[in-house]
Symmetry: C2
Subunit: 339 residues, 2 copies
């Protein structure tokens, strides 16, 4: 399909060896400067394009990296991606971005394709299915080939590899501590999908903070949701209709908290005085909620930047795997600020 | 860096010709079935990976497509991307996704890199800078090479090429007509950044609808914003502090409308009775606003699916350029529903 002009075509036109054309195009001093100019102008005119595929076969380096994400519709992931691209662009790398939709089969297929395309490294945030079923063979194969692999957000617990994560546990602990400080007695949790590291870490931070402050962790104060706003509607109704209603909710992300506030408004329950709320991710719309939503910021853009920098610092040398853990920040707004 | 095993390495091990190994790995019946099995098992064990780079040089087909977007932090873009990937994955294509951040220089650099990587086609939503300055040479070069180019969202007016767009003009017309039907007299517009097709089309739809209904288009009812929520704060305040306040706002997207509703709440102005509001994009959080936000849906996911299908239907044949224009849908919620 590519209608491209090769060095051979140009050589034919000028009745000389392809090596002469190659040298002329690379400004080699062995070629007369006038000849170089003529050949370069002709190459531009006919649309000659250096073939980095051939070059990458020679150099064993494709200047392309793979990024496999479970989804890309959330602010956290797209913002992380922007941070990553900013750093990589400067170093001349292109990103092959693939979305697994949390499916192990798709993730595996993408990784095979990326390997076949000879990527120079892989960033991966594992699909829920791979995580749940502890399927890591497809990633082990990458590591066996000495290709740099950097885990993002969701570490692969079985493998010693580089990783960049936010300390979700610490963030959840801070959010829960803040709700305790605000005088909340019965703090509920909208728990993320099980089997995903961020859900688990945020639950553990919530749980351990309650225990550290002499509180009980009550099963009927925990409701499971997906990461979507919709999934929190029913969960919030169940929490508020129980005999032992909560007076605070810590949600696994901002979307579920915005939906929870919507349900509370419908039920005539005031936020923060009857129910205080804290979310996670600090999405741009959190500050425009009614009321503005307190949230834990994950420094999403910085995660991407750090992952890219980690790849660049390690690509030419074998170093011990490191974990970069970014501190979360609690942003307090009206939704949890009790007077 | 790649520690990979080649067909030659395997041939050496089995003391036979590389072509025998290649046939065995491709299950060629000329090779004894036992031998095939032994070679295939060995290849799996040592981590042999088919090199699609070599294959793509032979076939002149990389099975990789480029996608260049101005940004990826909005629901519309990431949702479109998911639709596109779903279709392409089934056909074995990988997407090289690149984010131009609205910069012409970055866009140009990415396109050069994608050409050098021998992509089989290009999807592009042009950067604002390229659009403003009518810079299209970098794209003309792609088209000259007979590489399929499909424009998304923002058409390149100078070039006859395939495109998939939402009819933004029609969507804006519908939104404005709805506000007129609700009895609104002074309909303001939060106008998107100039020079971008979607901003312009949405403004024109608003303008022509007003004119078609005998209304005047008043300069002091139009305020410019970016696509971010933050950018609408000041713009909304200016609108509401003017001598001739609006009783409705049609915003260029949902984020600016959610921020506008925030400002109106702060000012004690009721939505929809004092000011009715309609946004654009129908992001998932629109329905959880206070009040739920009316919005024009662009069918974002479908745009991605249609663009992918268009590429697949045309990749092997030279056909006349087509434009697929998807009908927008007006979703009416409380923010514009006057009693």
């Amino acid at each position: 399909m590519n209608n491209s002009v090769s060095i051979k075509d140009i050589a034919k036109k000028f009745k000389c060896a392809p090596s002469t054309i190659s040298r002329a195009l690379n400004d080699h001093p062995a070629i007369n400067i006038e000849t170089r100019k003529t050949i370069q102008e002709y190459a531009l005119k006919v649309g000659y394009q250096k073939n980095t595929l051939s070059l990458s076969l020679l150099n064993n380096c494709s200047m392309t990296l793979g990024l496999v994400l479970p989804s890309i519709t959330h602010y956290h992931e797209s913002s992380m991606l922007e941070g990553m691209e900013e750093i990589l662009l400067k170093s001349g790398y292109l990103l092959n971005i693939c979305v697994s939709n949390e499916s192990h089969t798709i993730e595996k297929e993408y990784i095979d394709r990326l390997l076949a395309n000879r990527v120079d490294g892989l960033f991966i945030s594992m699909a829920q299915e791979s995580y749940d079923q502890q399927l890591g063979e497809h990633i082990d194969r990458v590591i066996q080939r000495s290709l740099p692999v950097i885990f993002i957000d969701r570490p692969n617990h079985g493998v010693a590899s580089d990783r960049v994560v936010t300390d979700d546990y610490q963030g959840a602990f801070m959010a829960t501590k803040h709700l305790i400080d605000m005088g909340c007695q019965r703090i509920a949790h909208l728990h993320g999908p099980s089997g995903i590291s961020v859900s688990q870490q945020r639950f553990l931070g919530y749980q351990d903070c309650l225990i550290a402050h002499g509180r009980q962790v009550e099963a009927d104060l925990i409701q499971y949701v997906h990461f979507s706003a919709e999934s929190a509607i029913q969960a919030t109704r169940i929490l508020m209709q129980s005999d032992s209603k909560p007076d605070a909710i810590f949600g696994v992300n901002d979307e579920v908290c915005i939906a929870a506030m919507f349900v509370l408004r419908e039920m005539g329950i005031s936020v923060p005085n009857e129910v205080a709320i804290v979310g996670f991710d600090d999405i741009p719309l959190a500050s425009f909620g009614h009321p503005p939503l307190s949230s834990v910021s994950r420094q999403s853009r910085k995660i991407g930047e750090e992952a890219a920098k980690l790849f660049l610092s390690k690509k030419d040398q074998k170093l011990e795997p490191v974990t970069i853990s970014l501190d979360p920040k609690l942003i307090i707004r009206e939704s949890s600020l009790r007077s």
